[in-house]
Amino acid sequence: MEYVNTVGLRLDGRRPNEIRQLRAEMSTLASADGSATFEMGNTKVLAAVYGPREASNRAQTDTSKATVRCEYSMAAFSSGERRRRGKSDRRATETSLAIANTLEQNILTELLPRTQIDIYVQVLQADGGMRCAAINAAFLALADAGVPMRDSVAACAAGYLDGTALLDLNYTEDGGGGPEVAVALQTGLHQVLMLQTDSKLSMEVFEEVVELASNGCRAVAEFLRTTLLAHVGRLSLATSIAKSEA
């Protein structure tokens, strides 16, 4: 299969360093303390945050900082073949841990001792890059819940197929057998929070792919920033209307 054609375009018509279309919406669930949907092309995830709240398990309460927990799961109809139920999905558990650990680094947990923050992520449509989309959605949901954070976090993956580094792989490209590197950055502090790959790749290729993914993260961060500003704009308008009516 040819992943990059002679003109240098990919299967879905993107250029190698092009990210898929991004869409986001905040406060999509009324009951949650914070929530957001985030779409990268056809990948669509919904994140909800409950907390900071009193820790449910007293034995695991940390008296010095907040505990961050995450549950990531995929809807049965999200992918091509229907997924069979199974709570003990090891891949989902691993992704949950990666999301929790990545975002925990960015939360000012020391300000919230004895509390717990629950992040729930549901994948509604799966077309590659779910882990990164989940981190972006969860970041927006945390911001929506008003959880204090150090910096903005953005995640994006990049891969290497047909001798070309490709940004933000979709499902077909993901199945192409090439390496894929997922990166999450604190974009203001320029710190790498997550860097993950399971494939063998040479140092030069690795650096090229990581650089491309980091550029992708910065593009995503810019988009997240616009989303947050628009959301805050709407909130401040709503508050000022409520005040003038009171």
């Binding site: 009951s31 669509k44 549950e71 809807a75 549901q122």
Partner: protein, 276 residues
């Protein structure tokens, strides 16, 4: 300011007394009268990956149903029928009180209730899900995710399932080959693309959940209200407005006049949803 704070504190400390004050005036804390339901919104085909899907909101209560089709061989005891398998999930994001990891008994109950309806053919005649040759059938897996569990879940799940089934189109199958298994027809057959067909559904059921609070009937309770109710009763009316199912699992007694009022309210919802 002081007054509103005291009101909030009263509501938190004595929820039942707080609610009773509203009910004695024929009102509810969210501004509805006792027999008023919440607004319903139904959006179809919201998830691209599924064969059909629907997002239903009943006030804040939200359910997302998605259907995936699979080709299978018919079951021995029901050779001329396909099947619709409904599975309701209450992911932990649906409410602040749910804990991850456990399959809640509520999800199991909703699955049992909806699954029974679908299996019995009350939603649509399962014979439509067969292939003309009869050697293979469609299995429609309908997964319902409750995204916001704000009361009357049985209603919102049934409405989502029905809406997803209405949006479902069965792809045309190619005639069975020598092997006996039907395969989905390729889109560029000589006669042009094969047309997908919609299911002929039974006249849709309309569900309504009501609560009993201190002898008063409360229509379409939210999660907060459900927690205060003495009893809950779920009923369904069919296309002719006849009762097509009642379930009241324990709780305080239910008078005949309550059942009549609830039936009327269900009829109103039925007319509002299906048109005159």
């Amino acid at each position: 300011m002081v007054v509103s704070l005291e009101g909030d504190a009263f509501a938190r400390l004595y929820p039942r007394e707080y609610y009773a004050k509203f009910v004695s005036q024929g009102m509810r804390p969210d501004g509805r009268v006792l027999t008023q339901e919440r607004p319903i919104s139904i959006v179809r085909d919201v998830v691209a990956g599924a064969d059909s899907s629907a997002l239903v909101k009943l006030g804040r209560a939200t359910a997302l149903a998605g259907i995936k089709l699979e080709v299978a061989s018919p079951e021995d005891e029901r050779p001329g029928e396909g099947s619709i398998i409904v599975q309701v999930e209450l992911p932990p994001m649906c409410s602040a009180s749910s804990r991850p990891g456990l399959v809640s008994p509520r999800a199991a109950r909703l699955t049992e209730e909806l699954g029974g309806l679908a299996e019995s053919g009350a939603l649509c005649d399962l014979a439509q899900l067969t292939h003309p040759g009869g050697r293979s059938v469609w299995v429609a897996y309908c997964d319902v995710y409750v995204l916001d569990a704000d009361g009357s879940l049985s209603d919102v799940c049934l409405l989502a399932t029905l809406a997803a089934l209405q949006a479902l189109r069965l792809p045309a199958l190619e005639p069975e080959g020598a092997g006996g298994a039907a395969v989905p027809a390729p889109h560029d057959t000589p006669e042009g693309p094969a047309a997908p067909r919609a299911l002929r559904l039974e006249p849709p059921l309309t569900p309504l959940t009501c609560g009993i609070f201190g002898g008063a009937l409360v229509v379409d309770p939210t999660a907060e209200e459900e927690a205060l109710m003495d009893a809950l009763v779920c009923l369904r009316v069919n296309g002719d407005g006849q009762l097509a199912g009642v379930s009241k699992l324990g709780g305080s007694g239910l008078g005949r006049e309550h059942l009549a009022t609830a039936h009327m309210a269900a009829m109103r919802r039925h007319l509002a949803l299906q048109g005159p």
